[in-house]
Symmetry: C2
DNA sequence: CCTGACTGATCTAATATTGCAACCGGTTTT
DNA sequence: AAAACCGGTTGCAATATTAGATCAGTCAGG
């Protein structure tokens, strides 16, 4: 029973699981965009992932325990992909990656606003977001707070920036 | 002047820069192992990176501004690689990745202890570590604290575990 | 039943990346 | 002079990635 990993270092192990061009981007779309079907992930992909790559990654992510796949009762050929607890706990990683990317790479304003809010909110907001994701993906019971979900807040901020920029753009 | 990136999303951009099997592992070795030469990175690699891949990644990391390369005055053919400020600011990302890997993947005790300390230390320790790295890689002036550097503390903890396990192993 | 759209998935063919081992000319050490 | 070390480079086979075409099963509307 030899390990298939090249070393037991946490960073190396994470790179063996997630160290590729697409895995984290797919998880991002499931997490922040609530994409749950193959076509949603394929056609609404900001970056234009190829269908066979998407299929291969989804299969791999299921095998590595980051997502689950179940049949969609509304359509016999449709599958619903959900994040597992393991993947949901990537929220702090994605938050830090987002913050770093926003500081050092040519991030557009619209697509950077979610990262900004997540960075400003800190660990407390990350926990609330993870709780929201557990409701959406793991059938956890929602807490009855009056507040909108973190996901709603992030998307509202995104839409706001989009609207602002559309208004500006029209005057040019 | 079109962008070469597929989208302006911070997570996508980071994956376009760092989304491969080796880049972060090389940065890890430079950061935590203070590997500064090609052969150090090649021969002391826990995971056994191939020389051509290492050469290609180093070149790419220089191009993307994550590391710099300068001649080693002690040896005409030797080069010294250093982390840039941009790469040093990956410390929080690596800390979160390490914490996640330690929770969810088969991390060995020795190689996990650094991640544990970094997670327990939190943002305050990360900042101190980044200051240490600025001294080592950017020629920043060291602060005159009586305390050992974070790097020394991490490595001391690692050696301690190695010694413990060696002692245990001998009785078997 | 027929149509047309949508589902997840598969195939092709061109290109890029990866891993491995051998090799290179120059430099330093012994 | 010989050996070891230096930062790579090269050739080669295997694998990964890509865009685009295609597939059969399923569904809703007529």
């Amino acid at each position: 029973m030899k390990s298939e990993f090249r070393s037991g270092c946490p960073i190396n192990l994470t790179m063996e699981i997630l160290g590729d061009r697409w895995s984290l981007v797919i998880i991002r779309d499931m997490m922040f965009g609530n994409r749950r079907h193959f076509r949603e992930l394929l056609n609404q992909s900001e970056e234009g992932i190829a269908s066979n790559i998407l299929a291969a990654r989804l299969k791999r992510l299921v095998e590595t325990g980051l997502i689950t796949r179940r049949d969609d009762p509304s359509h016999k050929q449709k599958a619903i992909y959900s994040l597992t607890e393991t993947a949901i706990e990537l929220v702090p990683v994605l938050a830090q990656i987002g913050a770093w990317g926003r500081r050092h790479l040519p991030v557009t304003e619209e697509l950077g606003v979610r990262a900004q809010l997540l960075a400003e909110g800190g660990p407390e907001l990350w926990e609330a977001f993870m709780d929201d994701l557990r409701v959406l993906h793991l059938d956890a019971k929602p807490e009855k707070t009056g507040k909108p979900t973190v996901l709603d807040r992030l998307n509202a901020a995104y839409e706001e920036v989009v609207d602002e920029n559309r208004a500006k753009g029209k005057t040019q």
